[in-house]
């Protein structure tokens, strides 16, 4: 409870009590339809209770009726900013079941596009994070650079966001003849621009005051809450699937897992900036070395997985994304579970926001980088 104040006229103590307020489902800083029920004492948060389900589409139930090629198309409607990685997770799980080895060309192209997707997701995050704190410029900068990547995707597969470029057995199409040229042009461009991101926010006094020491998550709590991705790594929880369980071409490239010890909002910010540099480096290592060969392995028109269980995890821009398939031998799974990073990351929000102010909650939510369809599924 708050400290007691005395009414200066009557001389009696003023009473205070907790009250409830809804944040969302239509609130600009929730970046989607997330409703938080806040228990407040003045401006201090006592409890954050997320109310979910506004866009729950029951994707897991739909998968039980769909073929494996159809399932891929549902996954980029979950975390739409990591659509390529989500597609890749399902494709890899199915390939694991079929015991298909992918051509080297597929592995390398998948990795390059994954990293481009990660970059575009972090750019968008950086833009809206600045905007959540009142800095409109960052939004324009982030979207300007992101547009170049989205244009490359559009030329590659015809879609800008929900790409479906991965299919079980390889890729939907081969890369466009311009792909390498445009990707290299983007990398050169963004290497010039990324230091500007630092200049705009990183050293800014207001920015540092609003993020340093805000929403601290310890390493033990990050593990216990299953907070993965950049948010978990900022607490010192080494969980990068690309390092721990390499898939596609990640075992061929050198990169550092961005880690930090502080676990506050500033650390989560720094980790994502560091990750953008690492992604650029991965793309540079691979872009001139795309092997010749097929962009697809031979698969049957109707894919049936042998009876058994398959689990595949990948690193999306938000953390560990898992696909768990239980097959009875048919053309659709008996049960399919998506372990989405956003759902677990959100579970730590109440713990992180306890005792903070409402303004801090906006910062904490933004540095967790929540995408609501990924939580609701």
């Amino acid at each position: 409870m708050a400290e007691t104040h005395i009414n200066t006229i009557s001389g009696k103590p003023l009473e205070s009590q907790e009250y409830l307020i809804n944040m969302g489902p239509q609130h600009p800083s929730t970046h989607g339809v997330l409703r938080l029920l806040l228990t407040l004492d003045g401006e201090i948060i006592h409890k954050v209770e997320p109310h979910l389900g506004y866009i729950h589409r029951s994707i897991e139930k739909m998968c039980e009726k769909d073929s494996y090629t159809q399932i891929v198309h549902l996954t980029d409607r979950m975390d739409y900013l990591s659509s390529h990685m989500n597609n890749e997770a399902v494709s890899l799980a199915v390939e694991q079941g079929l015991e298909l080895e992918m051509p080297e060309r597929v592995k390398v192209i998948r990795t390059i596009i994954s990293e481009l997707t990660r970059l575009s997701s972090h750019q968008l995050w950086w833009g809206v994070f600045g905007m959540d704190l009142g800095a409109i410029t960052t939004f324009l900068y982030g979207f300007r650079d992101r547009e170049m990547i989205i244009d490359i995707f559009e030329e590659t597969c015809g879609a800008r966001l929900t790409m479906n470029y991965n299919v079980p057995g390889g890729l939907m199409f081969d890369i466009h003849p311009n792909f390498q040229k445009r990707t290299k042009a983007f990398v050169a461009h963004f290497k010039q621009k990324l230091p500007e991101y630092d200049q705009l926010l990183t050293g800014n006094v207001i920015f540092e005051l609003r993020t340093k020491g805000v929403g601290i998550l310890s390493k033990e709590d990050a593990i216990s809450y299953g907070v993965t991705g950049p948010s978990g790594r900022a607490s010192g929880f080494s969980n990068d699937v690309r390092k721990h369980n390499p898939y596609s071409a990640y075992s061929q490239v050198e990169f550092k897992e961005a880690l930090s010890e502080e676990g506050d909002s500033y650390a989560r910010y720094k980790v994502r900036i560091q990750e953008m540099w690492e992604s650029l480096s991965i793309i540079e290592q691979l872009i001139d070395n795309i092997p010749e060969g097929d962009y697809k392995a031979k698969t049957k028109a109707v894919i049936k997985l042998p009876k058994g269980e398959y689990y595949q995890k990948v690193e999306t821009a938000r953390g560990e994304f898992g696909v768990y398939i239980i097959s009875e031998g048919g053309k659709s799974p008996y049960r399919l579970k998506f372990r989405s990073p956003g759902f677990s990351n959100l579970s730590a929000l109440d713990h992180m926001a306890k005792g903070a102010k409402i303004g801090d909650l906006v910062v904490i939510m933004s540095t967790l980088d929540l995408v609501i369809p990924d939580i609701d599924r």
Binding site: T228, E309, G322
Partner: protein
């Protein structure tokens, strides 16, 4: 710890365990009554230290229900999958593990919401996605969906 040692550790706590290797992990199937003891042992014991619960979900089979726990140790790097078998399909109940891994609180609410499995001692067991007055549990195999958009 290699798989043989893991098997021995599990057997010392739950003697009636069945083992299976599938999905790239060691799978152990135990009766639901043993779950909390085994989970606590695997989390606390120095040789196992399974501190990271990365996936928790339910499964509906014709005769029984299963709650699946995917565990990893961030210290040792090994993984294990626990499958807790609930024989009573009509009134499924199991102990919560949200006191061991905090992330289970949300995941168990999801399983309760979609499978109707009740987690004993859960701090806040309510539906998480669907409305409170929703009838039935959609991920059960016998759930009748009148407006199934795929079959329409």
């Amino acid at each position: 710890m290699d798989q043989e040692q893991l098997k021995e550790t599990v057997l010392s706590v739950a003697p009636e365990t069945e083992f299976e290797e599938t999905g790239g992990f060691l799978n152990v199937t135990i009766p639901s009554a043993r779950l909390h003891d085994l989970a606590l042992h695997l989390r606390e014991s120095e040789d196992t230290l399974f501190d990271y619960l990365f996936c928790l979900t339910g499964m509906d089979w014709p005769e029984y229900m299963i709650v699946v726990y995917h565990l990893k140790s961030t210290t040792h790097g090994h993984s294990i999958v626990i499958k807790a078998k609930i024989e009573n399909r009509e009134k499924p109940e199991i102990d919560t593990v949200s006191d061991i891994w905090r992330t289970a609180e949300f995941h168990e609410r999801e399983v309760f919401d979609l499978f109707g499995i009740v987690f004993r001692n859960h701090p806040d067991l309510r539906r998480i996605f669907l409305e409170d007055d929703w009838m039935g549990y959609p991920l059960r195999k016998d759930y009748v969906d009148e407006v199934n958009i795929i079959e329409l």
